[in-house]
Amino acid sequence: MKCVEVLATADLLPGMVLAEALLDEMGRVLIPAGAELSEKNIASLASRDLPGAKIERQVAEDVQETEAYRLVLQGRLDHLFRHAGSGEVSRALYQAVVDYRVGQR
């Protein structure tokens, strides 16, 4: 299972995998998403004063944890879909987003 977290530059370690591309102030890609960070990368981030990076890591799947996540997610989506009605297409959109978010973990 993939887990994404935001870490401060000081907490980054070589070998960590970027979940989102890192950009400079002009919007140019410094390091693409999916790249493994090297020591040189981290030093360059620190020298550019970038606050941190989104990192993804593989963690062992925990069924209970996934269920707990699903419940929290459904609570959030129930609120978002509070006026979307019970039509088939509205419900299918709800389900597609649940499947996508759970699959992302």
Binding site: E20, L23, V29, L80, H83, A92, Y94, Y100
Partner: protein, 281 residues
Amino acid sequence: MSALPKERVALCLQQLPPLPQVVSELLASFAHEDDVDVERLAHQISRDQAITARVLRVANSSFYGLQSRVATIPDAVVVLGFRAVRSLVLAVGVNCTFFADRCRGFDAEAYRRHGIGTGLAAAGLSEMAGSNRELAFTAGLLHDIGQLALAANFPMEYTKVLDYRASKDCSSLASERDVMGTDHAQVGGMLAEIWHFPESLRQALAGHHEPGRAADDSLANLIHIADATAHALEFSHQPGEMVMPLDPVAWQRIGGDWQVFRSVLPQIEANFAETCHSLLS
């Protein structure tokens, strides 16, 4: 609640400053696709520095996945194609026309984030829908321009709309109708007429909340679904965000397939951060 006479809204919109010359020319070029002087238009875009800088930033973002950077508008036209550059210039040029900073409570950042999310969703779903990707992106970016126009030109009234919406937890469309007697789809349609937008864009702006009343092949169908998708992915980060009921007719008309739909969601989200960075800052 006192409604704003529709005539007053129309009059105010008619007195808006014209769009930048190059934006109007690009809009007009939709009507004669086979006979466009691309070189002349590229040079004309280059003369507007603000537009050029932003367009090049988006062109060099990962949304287009270019192998090398483009440094000029004519280069961008060669690499991305005229249509892609045109839709970027339109998106940048039109959204820069209004400033809603006098409207208390209007979250311009959230407005733009939702527009970008809808544009990316529309572009992502355009192949399934059989629509032009660039036009879909532009239509998504601009679909709520009526909200921005109302907030910029009637700031006090629009603050009341926002307060009303928060207290009743209803849609932006319903609160605009109740408080101002008009709504952002209607205003978007009027703007599209005043600015001579191509008919497909006008339909997307005016009809995205009522696609059932649009034609089978109208872009309003795709933008209706893209709008709901962007809300469902919570791009605007607003606490009152909500998904409105989806029209099954629109879904059917765009050849809706949930498997295809799920397969494009990751790309929509992946492109979001960078497109925001390029278009917002």
